[in-house]
Point group: C2
Chain length 466, copies 2
């Protein structure tokens, strides 16, 4: 099936509307699309999920505070009123920079979409630094599915501990390891500690959830390195007050179903018995970056990010913008703010070119850093506005709350989000604990299969002996 086949454009005809194709519905893609409203261009967003994901709050879905709907509104609902924007579900597998086409796959087949200008904002996935087999045991935190999977594993671990009798096995299920002490890792470790030591405290009869161990590991010597030493130490101290064991300079060398193997700072190996692992350690840009690099000779960095020009375009291809987590420019961090600002910048550049064909270029993209923040626990956050203004504790948490409420505005669910936050922050409860059967049933099936195989083997052995 061919979608919008690339037809020769008749130069003599009335100039067709500029076709802008945007790959990805994250912060970069969405902000580019919105900025292109009322501009006379045709916008097509191709994305592999039908929702926009407010990724900074994903950890709250994983830990039962929010529902997936609250942080993942349908992209086409957000863009409902923007008549020049079309949303198409599809996983982009091929960009052809010569033919100017994008090929995407969906359950109903392949679609080929032609573009005049392309905005590539496909983001980044989790990186296991070459150890992709870790992913089975230590899910990342990149999608709604990841968050629901982790929700099932985290709440499920306490359920399993309650069923068991053997103290060692129980402790293994009550040990949670978060790998990576960046914002996501810090937030996850803090949330799991709150769950164990507060939310679930009175929910069990045999186990004592407050005996759960929560470990936060990082190969680097600091917590939240981009926040600087002062805030990093504050965050670490707060995590430790909550009972999180922060272990730095610790390198993870293996992950399996029952444990995490690490190398301690002194070089000695150690095995941490744990059933529940969260991977928040690294990112890898979308493979589309590598594909663009191969076709155009652009360079990529170790994380697969494409080195772009100062106007966020691909070298030699002013019609292709690469923005957000999949580009590399002036060491800008891989955060939502950069993606949003680049999305808007790309849109402005596109309309500027149409209005002033052959005119002067817009000034280079400059990231305006509004600061960054991470919550450590309820009522406690760290916020770095700039080198002089750094907050920690309750006021930083209030700032976090304010910023997130403002950014959620425009999403229909902000009222219920506030209510869920009230439940959690004031009542210490979790409204969204419901777990799907996905992994529980899958594991049960595996367990039964194992039993059947064992029974069969025993039978065979018996027959052999007889």
């Amino acid at each position: 099936m061919s979608n919008q086949p690339a037809q020769p454009r008749d130069a003599a005809a009335k100039p067709a509307r500029e076709r802008v194709v945007i790959i990805g519905s994250g912060f970069g893609g969405l902000f580019a699309a919105r900025k292109l409203a009322h501009t006379g261009v045709d916008v097509t967003i191709i994305a592999k999920t039908s929702h926009h994901l407010f990724q900074p709050l994903l950890y709250q879905v994983a830990t039962g505070v929010l529902s997936q709907g609250e942080i993942a509104p349908a992209t086409r609902e957000i863009l409902r009123g923007q008549k020049n924007a079309r949303v198409m579900l599809g996983d982009v597998t091929q960009i052809d920079v010569e033919a100017k086409t994008v090929t995407s796959q969906s359950p109903v087949g392949e679609a080929v979409t032609s573009y005049d200008t392309l905005v590539v904002a496909a983001g980044a996935g989790q990186s296991y630094f070459g150890n992709d087999h870790f992913s089975e045991f230590a899910p990342g935190m990149k999608s709604i599915d990841d968050a629901l999977e982790l929700r099932g594993r985290i709440f499920g671990a306490f359920e399993m501990a309650e069923v068991l009798q053997d103290p060692e096995e129980i402790q293994q299920w009550l040990t949670f390891v978060v790998v990576g002490a960046g914002p996501t890792g810090v937030e996850m470790a803090g949330q799991i500690a709150e769950l164990a030591h507060s939310t679930l405290k009175r929910d069990f009869r045999r186990i004592d959830p407050t005996k759960a161990r929560v470990l936060l590991l990082d190969a680097a010597p600091a917590v939240l390195p981009p926040f600087g030493e002062k805030l990093g130490k504050k965050a670490q101290a707060q995590l430790e007050r909550m009972g999180v064991e922060v272990q730095l300079d610790v390198k993870v060398v293996n992950v399996d179903e029952e444990a995490v193997d690490v190398i301690d700072p002194d070089g000695s190996p150690r095995r941490i018995q744990t059933r529940t692992k969260v991977w928040a350690a690294g990112v890898q840009a979308s493979p589309l970056g590598q594909q663009l690099a191969e076709q155009t000779g652009a360079e990529t960095d170790r994380a697969g990010r494409v080195m772009v020009e100062e106007d966020c375009t691909l070298p030699g291809h002013p019609e292709i913008f690469v923005i957000g987590d999949m580009m590399s420019l002036k060491r800008y961090p891989g955060v939502a703010q950069v993606a949003m600002q680049q999305g808007k910048y790309a849109a402005k550049t596109i309309t500027h070119r149409i209005k002033h064909p052959g005119g002067e270029k817009l000034p280079a993209f400059e990231y305006f850093d509004k600061g960054s923040m991470a919550t450590v626990s309820r009522f406690h956050a760290v916020a770095k506005i700039n080198d002089r203004i750094q907050l920690s504790g309750f006021f930083a948490w209030l700032a976090w709350l304010g910023v997130h409420i403002v950014y959620l505005i425009g999403f229909k669910n902000r009222v219920t989000t506030l209510l869920h936050w009230t439940v959690t922050f004031i009542g210490r409860g979790r409204s969204e604990r419901a777990v799907t059967d996905q992994q529980v049933v899958a594991r049960m099936a595996l367990h039964r299969e194992k039993l059947a195989t064992e029974a069969e083997q025993a039978q065979t052995a018996e027959n052999g002996a007889a």
Copy 2:
């Protein structure tokens, strides 16, 4: 692993606390457990999900109105304050009425739990009347997983239609068939029609969602038979006003990926091209019913329900109660009210026997029918209080709203539920449209596999030809 091994009880010792084991955390199991609070018995609920499911609102999760957390609070959270109740995750595979033990499976292995009194409230699953292969193409509506799967399929169908070019294929994706015109089927058909004709109206650019066809099929000659002819006709008329095609006396003979095959009232076969099917046609009692019957000689009906005595116990086994959707008694319907009342009755009987050992029995269980209701659309429901009091339209809908708010009270999420209802009923929006990758990714993977196989076959054919 043996859990609470059956030890000989020393008759001379201080009498041990009565051990009541409840299988299932639905309405029957939960209400039995709560009624046993402060009674001096030990209660163990064994259930295969960690949540209690408010099943009457499951269709709202499937159609994007509510989040799963709102209708599925954690069972152990509901029972947090009831110190004599313990909740254990496990799928009961074996009841041994002689040894008085229950064997359950969980991902960490097998547990054997001894009981003095057993309350079996394991409910019912979907029945495909011997055609279990339909389930792949037409999911039922029995669990959170079912609802999320259907949410993905329903919203996904519109996404697929928007990608496609071929009008016939598009219409196939825009045709929704609901099999079974009981309350769940009526509610699903009404919701899908509202989605198509109202919620999604302005969300697409190529397709017109209002062109979607929604069919409600039933082999019986009426909609909502238990509500009587008058209300059934009213519900049917309202569905038809909403654009639902109600087809009665139509027998479904096959379901595959692309269609539903039916036999029309005149005996002629017909094939309905449709990608999205919902099965709301029949129920089958938990297989534990059959197991009990085999061990005790009790009888079961065609749907696998156990015929119980008038005190809801198994014939010859006064220590085993079978309640709710898996029992058969005086043709009581398989509704939440019966299960709740039987749960409370079983609890009362248990405490009565302890207080009056050898005393007179309690009067037989009598179901007090408070009436039944089903919503057809926003602002429109049917409610049958008794043979004289029958409502339809807005007042019935208000009654539905009132009853569901009252029954949700006690669940933390009733405030957000009310908000989500406001969004839907007043704003016609859906706050919980977020779809997991589950089936989308699975289908994409299948599609790619198919492509790879085809490419390989082509290659082989080419090599063979050369």
